[in-house]
Symmetry: C2
Subunit: 208 residues, 2 copies
């Protein structure tokens, strides 16, 4: 059962996200030294700096070479691609520093878009006017037009995203660091913070 | 015909927007001196600094006192309120440093929300990643999910707003400095950069 022994890593701009058997954990990009691992690691990496280091290490296997890229586009983040590989049909909402929304139809990537993440959008409102410096209200009733400032920005951020995501009438898969927050507005979504690892496992299985 | 002689002014954070008979023009907040006008001016003002000055001038008449506030909410910008006063039914999209979206139903404000303006949102994407530093594509086909980075952020910004605005199934009124840009995604909207002045005239007519 190689599956159980396999070490997987999704390298982002702030952390190395590992899956060791069924346990996932994160190491900071700032402090983690990839030389410290001598076992085989299958990885994907969106971090240009880390990429240069990992390429020199024989036990770190870049999985991006093993996915059929013909359905995707050149500048698409490899993390989005592997999340798409994990499912056969649905909308993936990956809530990190950006929120990426990708649609997969009958096993094929149909396209996707990029929306600002929770922190970035909070900063945006604050920078427009100090009168808009509120934390978002995730408990907002999206069926009702707001009549106060906090809900006016919360609705502006969340309802617009919500209207577009549900318009695809597909199962919704939530992943990423802020998935829990978005679960409040997508209560029927499937939350899965290891979605990218599922995509990686699928690609490894195909490769073998 | 007092209407023709009336001087109106909508004071924002960057400019004094005047309507003199049927001619509108702007003066910069930085350089314009309101003392220079000796005729009567009916105005509204969202700019806290300008407000303090204008209150001391007898010929500047603050119209905000003459609108029935019971349908609106306390912290709502007076410019949004006067745009709502201008129409009896529809969705107003006012595209400035923020995009405010307000719904009026049978002459009554039904609620509204606030979305980042074109410049603010461009900055947001750029700050998330230099890989997202593109000008928005207003000619994007919103019926098609994107498969390139520029369209992925353009769709993220514009389609989400579009989906929500059209969900109200009402006439759309576009106003504000970036109204022309949004006309591309709302081709059936009525564009009217003097909407707030119409609201001001209506309120003056009621007052008289």
């Amino acid at each position: 059962m190689e599956d159980i022994l396999m070490l997987l890593c999704d390298v982002g701009n702030t952390s190395y996200h590992f899956l060791d058997a069924d346990k996932d954990y994160k190491e900071s990009v700032k402090t983690f030294n990839p030389h410290a691992i001598t076992n085989k690691v299958y990885y994907i990496c969106v971090n240009p700096h880390a990429k240069l280091v990992l390429e020199t290490l024989d036990n770190w296997i870049d999985l991006s070479w093993h996915v059929d890229m013909s359905n995707y586009y050149d500048t698409m983040g490899i993390d989005r691609i592997f999340a798409c590989e994990a499912i056969s049909d649905g909308v993936i909402v990956d809530a990190g520093s950006a929120i990426t929304v990708d649609v997969v139809e009958k096993g094929v990537f149909a396209g996707g878009f990029i929306y600002p993440g929770v922190n970035a959008m909070g900063e945006t409102y604050k920078n427009i006017s100090s009168a808009l410096d509120y934390p978002f209200n995730y408990d907002i009733d999206l069926k009702k037009l707001p009549k106060n400032s906090r809900d006016a920005i919360s609705y502006g951020y969340l309802k617009t995203l919500h209207s577009e995501v549900i318009s695809h009438s597909k199962d919704i898969f939530l992943t990423g660091g802020d998935a829990d927050k978005l679960l409040k507005i997508f209560p029927h979504a499937k939350i899965d913070k290891t979605l990218i690892f599922k995509g990686m496992k699928k690609v490894i299985a195909k490769k073998q």
